[in-house]
Symmetry: C2
Subunit: 226 residues, 2 copies
C-alpha cells in the first residue's frame, strides 16, 4: 500500500524543529542546523554532496565516503521507495509573497537531490520548473489535499515523502494523512522557534511510537498510526 512518509525530521530536546529567525543564511532558523548534525557526516548525505542543502557548514565535507552505522541506516531509508515529494514553500526557498521572477530554483542547485516530481505548497501561482536529473517542481495553490492527490498519482507504486517545513508536517499530521514519521531528537536546546507538537494531540490522532533507536548523536524515533 502506498504510504505518506516523513523522514529525518530533526527535533530539539525542547520540542522545536526549527530555530527562531529563519532566513537565507539560516534556513532552519538560528541554531537549527544543530538538529541535523547526526545527518551531515552520513554516507547518504555525503553522497549527495550538496552544501546548500540545510545550509550545511563547508567543513563537514571531505570525509571520504561518509560514515556508516545507525544514523546512515535511517538517512538511507529516507530515500528508499520515494516516488514524489511534498514541501512547503519556505522549504523550497526564502522568497515570500508573489513570485516576481523565476530566478529562485530551490536550495539544491541545477540537479536537485529529489529526481522525481516535487509539489510545493504556495498561495501564489507559478509554472512548473523542470530541473536536471528528473526533478520537476510543481507549485500547488489548492492546499494540502490536492497536493497529496497529485503526489500520490505521480508516485505511482512508490511512496510520497512530505519533506517539511514544520508547518507543512503539522498540517498533514493534523489531517491524519501521515502514515510514518521518523524523528531524530538531538540533545540541543533551541529555546524558541517552530514547535512540532504544540497543540497537536498525536495519540488522539492514532499515532504511537513504534521504533526507538538511539545512536551516539541522536535518538531515532518512528511514529505511526495504529
Amino acid at each position: 500500500m502506498q504510504k505518506v512518509r516523513v523522514h529525518c525530521f530533526g527535533i530539539s530536546l525542547d520540542g522545536y524543529s526549527a530555530g527562531p529567525n529563519q532566513s537565507l543564511d539560516h534556513p532552519l532558523g538560528v541554531g537549527g542546523t544543530g538538529l541535523m548534525e547526526w545527518f551531515f557526516p552520513t554516507r547518504t548525505f555525503q553522497k549527495m554532496h550538496n552544501r546548500e542543502l540545510m545550509n550545511a557548514p563547508e567543513q563537514i565535507f571531505g570525509q571520504e565516503g561518509g560514515e556508516n552505522g545507525v544514523d546512515d541506516d535511517f538517512a538511507a531509508r529516507s530515500f528508499e521507495k520515494i516516488g514524489a515529494w511534498i514541501m512547503g514553500r519556505n522549504m523550497f526557498g526564502p522568497v515570500r509573497g508573489p513570485w516576481t521572477n523565476d530566478d529562485w530554483k530551490g536550495w539544491w542547485g541545477d540537479n536537485p537531490v529529489y529526481h522525481c516530481d516535487v509539489f510545493v505548497l504556495t498561495h501564489h501561482v507559478r509554472a512548473p520548473l523542470t530541473m536536471d536529473g528528473g526533478t520537476t517542481f510543481h507549485f500547488v495553490t489548492e492546499g494540502i489535499q490536492t497536493a497529496l492527490q497529485r503526489a500520490r498519482a505521480a508516485a505511482r507504486e512508490k511512496d510520497v515523502r512530505v519533506g517539511g517545513g514544520v508547518a507543512t508536517v503539522r498540517a498533514y499530521l493534523q489531517a491524519g494523512l501521515v502514515d510514518e514519521l521518523h524523528l531524530a531528537q538531538s540533545p540541543v536546546l533551541l529555546g524558541s522557534g517552530e514547535s512540532l507538537f504544540q497543540g497537536l494531540d498525536l495519540p488522539s490522532l492514532g499515532y504511537r511510537c513504534i521504533e526507538r533507536v538511539p545512536s551516539a548523536k541522536t535518538t531515532h524515533l518512528v511514529l505511526a498510526r495504529s
Copy 2:
C-alpha cells in the same frame, strides 16, 4: 558548592511531564506513569518498595532486588547528597484549597522516602508534619525564594532537590535557580497535559545539555547552566 537539583524528571516525546486529568488515581495524569516505566524496575526504586509513590502498578514489585544498569545509576544518583526537598502542593497530594484537616500526610506512608526536611509550596497555612524516619513536611506560603532559602539552610552542606511537579520545576527554571536538571525522555506520546518547556527559553537562561545517556527504555539527559 551547594546545588539545586532536579532528578528523574520524566518527559514524553511530545514534551509533557504529566498527562491530562491529574487525580488521586492518576497523580501523573492519564498515561503519565508511562514516563516512569524505566524507573520502577530499578534497584533503587525497588528498595524504596513504596507502591503509593507515583501510583506504580502492583505487579512491578516482587522482582528480587531490582535491576542494575544505566537506569539504576541515574535513579541512585538522584538520592545522593540530598539534604532537603522542595515540592509543589500537587506533588504532596490531591487536596486542593485550604487544608480542612491534617488527614492527608502525603503519598508515601508513615515512613516517607525523603528522610529530611521537605518544603511544600502552598497558598494555605498548615503546621509542620513530622513523620517517621526523619521526614518533616514544612508548608511554605511565602513563595519559591523563601522555600529555597529555608531548604538551603536545612540541607546544610548537602544539596537541595526540587521534586516537582511540572509547575514547580518550571518556576525554579524560569528564575534560573536550578543548577542541574536530569530528564528521562521516554518514547511515549501524551498528546496533552503539562508541558515542561513551552514558553521557557532555556538557552537564554543559560542552560545547555551536558550529558546524554540512552538506555534501553529511555534517554537520560542532564541540563546545566554554563
